[in-house]
Symmetry: C2
Subunit: 456 residues, 2 copies
Amino acid sequence: MVPAVPTALSTDLYEITMAAGYYVERNTGLATFELSVRALPAQRGFLVAAGIEQALEFLEGLRFTAEDIAYLRSVPALRVVPAPFFDEYLPGLRFTGEVWAVAEGTPIFAAEPLLSVTAPLPEAQLVETALLSQVLFQTAIASKAFRVVEAAQGRPVIEFGARRAHGIEAAALAARAAFIGGCAATSDVEAGLRFGIPVSGTMAHSWVMAYADELEAFRRFADLYGRDAVLLLDTYDTIEAAQRAVRAGLHPAAVRLDSGNAGMLSRAVRRILDAGGLTSTRIVVSGDLDEYRIAALVETGAPVDAFGVGTALSTSSDAPALGGIYKLVEIERAGTFVPTMKLSQGKRTYPGRKQVWRIGRGGRAERDVLGVFHEPAPESGVPLLTCVMRNGTRQIPRTALTTVREDCRRAVEQLPPEVRRLHDPATYDVAVSAALAALATHVAQQLKGTGTATNP
Amino acid sequence: MVPAVPTALSTDLYEITMAAGYYVERNTGLATFELSVRALPAQRGFLVAAGIEQALEFLEGLRFTAEDIAYLRSVPALRVVPAPFFDEYLPGLRFTGEVWAVAEGTPIFAAEPLLSVTAPLPEAQLVETALLSQVLFQTAIASKAFRVVEAAQGRPVIEFGARRAHGIEAAALAARAAFIGGCAATSDVEAGLRFGIPVSGTMAHSWVMAYADELEAFRRFADLYGRDAVLLLDTYDTIEAAQRAVRAGLHPAAVRLDSGNAGMLSRAVRRILDAGGLTSTRIVVSGDLDEYRIAALVETGAPVDAFGVGTALSTSSDAPALGGIYKLVEIERAGTFVPTMKLSQGKRTYPGRKQVWRIGRGGRAERDVLGVFHEPAPESGVPLLTCVMRNGTRQIPRTALTTVREDCRRAVEQLPPEVRRLHDPATYDVAVSAALAALATHVAQQLKGTGTATNP
């Protein structure tokens, strides 16, 4: 297994264009960028932060190789960039900044920074694209996974989506995020090796079709895998397959149903298994499942013991991308830190470096407060952002994913139940502190004072 | 730049479980699997095949390293697998099979094989997951890209979606597929280096915010990039920014609008630029665009010269996954090839190894015929599947992506116009040959004859 290596060129060209400009202009003081999600997708009452670990790995490994630099020199848009940028700046570039982030698995809401970077402006700019893609993707998947797992009400959910993921690297990252969101295991073997996630699998239709008849296929599989065998019943006829396995005296650990009416078939198969004494044989259902289908099966009492979920988990198919942004909020000018903000229509941001506090009482989260980084914490407020990297060196150990998953569940369970609903969740209260509101008004006025006006 | 290396563990555990079973059972004769898409997503009249190149690279590079094998030995579900599978079979495993595939950029339809693999059963099984994820992902993106580019009616579309892609490897692959589908360039620098795609970029809001006022930011950028500079106008106020750039005597190559009403703002900005003599300065529009929004802008005559499209292109956001399958269609038993099929409810497949012929007349594709691999070609039928790999060695050179893109456009333009519509496209006619229909009936009867019946 050779893991994918993030590269410094995993970035939009304009990050390089701008970094070159900042370098040439000596605009290389400290700047703070914050990564947040502008709005939650439909049907999401909260998001589960994930991918922070991969973001930190990217920053730690940031290097421009000689090959990278030779390529950049060949890019027409960069031909006017003075040689020292390529000869002196890029070869020695390392990420030297400070990063604050929420813990992976933390439920977060729109406009809340998940991660902030304070670094010399060109460094902080160059890493934008990679940080966004790593954090937004895994956050989308972990958020979806939590919903799917919640719908299963305690029955294990196994992530089966590698084949529908956006390439094989996305498959492994999706497995990781789905595990954080509560999945019990993944089918993706690479994710097992890289992230220590339990791997799980059954048999495919091809196994059944590879033998002259279905019973022979079942017997051969059971001969090798014994009581661990999971038999796939729906290649030809689900009911007949179940009867056949029972009559043959097989004792599979489980059977899997992958097509047809899962509610009806699971009941019929349960009766056949029980009548044959296979009361401990579990029923796994898969095939185009999502949180709504699972909830319907669970609510109608279908005798399903575990769910295998593919596309919905590996692509978050109803919300495959989050509207995430990485915005400059503060910049050093002549030795002082100046808060900045966008006034763009519909895309206005809050200025200055920020902190998020979660206000709780008796193990219940009541609301969050988005405030100025250095203002005093509100009463009963727990800060969500902590320092995870300083001078380019990580400050926190890697957390075991099982711990992240447990912390995630505990934190989400503290949210108001109406925010956690699968259907039409309520909006959680994220307040803006008085200090931040005042700062936003002040900065907006100053910006207008420079000769700009608000958009019509 | 260190490219992501596909690994043999990029697979579902059940592929390993089954491969071990086939090995133990000596069920290692040749088998043919076909990769196809079960149904087209909503609003898609056709798909554009892509990712075949990465599929072939995966097959050529297939190796289990010592680390991979050590990990597999540790997986609980594999503990019953006899040692020779790990000691003798996996270390020497290479892909030795034959692959037929459609050319990248070929428009294809539901149920048509994009790729078929004929190899010893365990080999053909092991590669299922990776082949599906590589081909389905890029096919989804190329298909979406063609729609977006078509909507732009000749105006260049630049793919800007790296930050919303499913990780940094997905960003590069999406850029590749979007280029095949007709995009002019990508913002993703890694895709530029790896795939030779032109890279393009402008400036971000952070550049504007990094200077004390907007005009200073514009001037500094223009100082460095001169007539190549693209100025982003919407950080504070789009109209004011345009006026300011004109008054300052700047001559940018283009301006970009990223928020607000693009139709109205592009007209207003065009008037300001023209009045200032900047008639050659182009207008680029970006910000949550897709084929429908672009079509609306083009149809209403908005003076937009180029479009930057992100999320819609890098995730195919309205159809982020294709319902693709990789099905066993033929297997060697006692020296003869036996066609196989699934009868699963709603997931029935056609048996036997197949070919697809496109029937055309006067440069117009009229319909496709799905037939038995060795049957005579129908009149005026051009076979879509050709041999691309034999004995594990590729038989075709890499095709330049610009050629793939041109071939794609030409092939799609031969489809009936009603199939190419953006809204509610008509269904293209894919006929099943008489020989294939007869084979399907025969095999289905035989399978029922083994004691199974159709599902209720």
